[in-house]
Symmetry: C2
Subunit: 432 residues, 2 copies
């Protein structure tokens, strides 16, 4: 049987999982690839660190040059995070004639265009299924399986840490802080969860998916984003009462004004597939103009789910499918038609607004006035005296009819100066 030499650069959790699949299940990759994927090298910085997988003698090395020099290695799995040295190493691998498989979303979200152009110049490919939504094969599904469609929208739960936290806050009524602590204890959140809970991770993934689905060449840092850190348990209670769940949603939607991108906690109607995604699961709902809605759910992270995506890419690259996709799709290339971006604040949706107020009757008319002045119709108002706090402050919740982010922003700015409104406490989009 034909043999394809493989190297892994970076042997963290996922790298060890990939090594396990290659070493312990070679029959399987042989059956699907029609050839053996042979692990020649595993490159690490620290040779002494335990890796949780037994490597054949001579495979472990701290010398990347051995991979570069090994002509029997045609594809390299690069599993080091961050921008540098990941970027330089990827360029070096491509320039030495290797195809690359990666899970590094930050690198692709930031330098995808440059790396993809360079790979194409060199006649090489970059596969990156594992960079978005872990075990869910969303990259292949958007770029191949749904290729007969104009994708119209994409709604994703793309960060397992956030979904674990909001699911728990919803189910248990606990505070953000307490729930984060529990998530950290259970290993669902990092010691420093910043990039997860502030929405950065989901936004970088959305940037990659938006490119695939819409040809958008967008800088991830320009996508409006809000994390989950300011969510209060009171809003989960109101959401439940209204028949919704709060989820961190990464949204991309093609509108008449162009492509709208947004990452923020949103209200999702109970019973819709995205509302039912629990714990640390990821999910993506894609609407194509021919296929209609298609929904994907699975583990978005973790050693073996991510390794599953990496090895699928390895097989695709070894048999030549990746090269074809990479060439025909013109990923991130200048030549491709792409969707223009809609002006900021133009996303149309219903809104959930909570105000903490002191004198309800008086304030309600002021709120209604400010909303009306900005063309926002009120769908419903909820106010329960039972919610009165010690200080006489009471939450008033308003669900608006469809409006734009810009209009909501203008109305809330006006209301910020009203004395009897203690605070414009929360504003969340309602997913349609």
């Amino acid at each position: 049987m034909e043999k394809t030499g493989v190297a892994i650069v970076g042997m963290g959790t996922v790298g060890a999982g990939v090594a396990r699949l290659l070493l312990e299940h070679g029959d399987r990759t042989a059956r699907h690839a029609g050839r053996t994927l042979w692990l020649n090298h595993a490159v690490v910085r620290d040779l002494k660190k335990p890796r949780g997988v037994e490597l054949p003698e001579g495979v472990l090395t701290d010398d990347l040059q051995r991979v570069i020099d090994d002509e029997s290695v045609s594809v390299v799995v690069q599993l080091i995070g961050g921008i540098e040295p990941a970027k330089s190493i990827m360029l070096r691998l491509l320039e030495s004639g290797k195809d690359v498989v990666t899970a590094n979303k930050a690198l692709l979200a930031q330098h995808g265009p440059e790396l993809f152009d360079r790979a194409r110049e060199l006649g090489r490919s970059i596969a990156f299924e594992a960079s978005v939504a872990g075990g869910i094969p969303i990259v292949a599904n958007i770029s191949q399986c749904l290729s007969a469609n104009q994708i119209q929208s994409l709604r994703g739960i793309l960060n397992g840490t956030c979904n674990f936290i909001v699911s728990k806050m919803d189910a248990e009524g606990a505070s953000y802080k307490a729930t984060l602590g529990e998530a950290q204890k259970l290993g669902y959140a990092e010691a420093d969860p910043g990039m997860d809970v502030d929405g950065t991770d989901a936004t970088q993934k959305l940037a990659i998916l938006s490119h695939l689905a819409f040809g958008a060449r967008v800088d991830w840092s320009e996508i409006p984003r809000r994390g989950i850190g300011r969510l209060k348990s009171v809003d989960f209670r109101y959401a439940t009462h209204l028949g919704y769940r709060i989820k961190l949603i990464a949204l991309a939607k093609l509108t008449d004004e162009g492509l709208v991108l947004d990452v923020s906690p949103m209200l999702v109607k109970v019973g819709k597939p995205l509302a039912e995604v629990r714990d640390n699961y990821n999910a993506v709902s894609v609407v194509g103009d021919a296929v209609g809605p298609v929904f994907f759910q699975g583990q978005g992270a973790g050693q073996m789910p991510t390794a599953s995506a990496v090895v699928a890419d390895l097989i695709d690259t070894a048999v030549g499918r990746t090269a074809i996709t990479f060439r025909t799709l013109e990923l991130w290339s200048e030549g491709r038609d792409r969707a223009g971006m809609a002006p900021r604040g133009s996303l149309v949706s219903r809104y959930y607004l909570r105000f903490d107020v002191q004198d309800v009757p008086k304030v309600l008319s002021q709120i209604a006035g400010a909303l009306g002045k900005n063309g926002i119709s009120i769908g419903s108002v909820y106010q329960h005296d039972a919610d009165l706090s010690d200080e006489g402050i009471v939450p008033v919740v308003i669900v608006t009819k469809e409006t734009t982010q810009a209009s909501v922003g203008a109305a809330l700015a006006e209301l910020a100066s009203v004395e009897a409104i203690d605070s414009v406490a929360e504003q969340l989009k309602i997913l349609d």
Copy 2:
């Protein structure tokens, strides 16, 4: 831009949808395929029948030979149902050097091995994404995207007509007959719904998926199957009470004894993704040993969802991905390792049993005795006097602990002769 000639044989609903995508959205296929897919011929039996799509002059023909003779046509979409003449036409197309894209599940479930072997001999390929679950790209996901996994189980809602009917029976408490009538009126069920409601359609799809996921070369007609025609509204009521929904499930599961296949109505726990699949949607839940559970949901039929799958196959075939997959996967070939079948009746699950009885106290002990004798433990018993009918017959529902189909069959056979048991009215597996 390079041009690939395409022909469609059979211009029913789906054929017209494929023609629309090719003619009206040529830019899209060009963007994803890096070439133009050019519709040269559309072959029909009756040239006068309206097709719902405007074809360029000279495209419509009733002469298959024109396709055979046209060397610029390298791939043919074959959309005629049934076994013959579909099979002969497919062989003729393959032998004249054309790759084939098809949606004909009955043909593949029955003659897949022969057709695939012949295609391979001829150096041609057969693509069949549209044959299972319409718009859900489950064929590509199992054969490519999850290729790093040993699939452990597969649970599908594969027939939209059945799911529409059981969802409505569940929601409205209506009878099977009334609901079928409504489904027919709304176009969700054919005038002759036999192959849908008796489970044939789902079983043929399961046979195809089982081959992909487990290498099973199984005759679909040997898979145990039960349709939805005997379901009673009383069982939907009990299921709801117990926290379940009744769904027609196509199940494939790798056990220590081999592969178990089964198509029948089963109880699915509310909150599980499969339980929440409504209306005419299809869904598949796949468990892989690396990736864990992955869930897919979408439209399982209809003109444009099915056309979406066909055109994705067309693009894959035109760019060369299908040829690679077809070669490396050894689909249906003799050479491939395959899972052995478990003995019939060996599937382990919990059971929902309903007995219609006359003298509850006396009969309960007989039922418990027969179950116990066959090693079946009782999980819970439900009997409400309020359910007493005019004739003094009362339903008794028993939920068993895990047991085999064979044990349940033996116990029920013993109870069939007990006079006070009016009938062993229903037995349904509970999906784990």
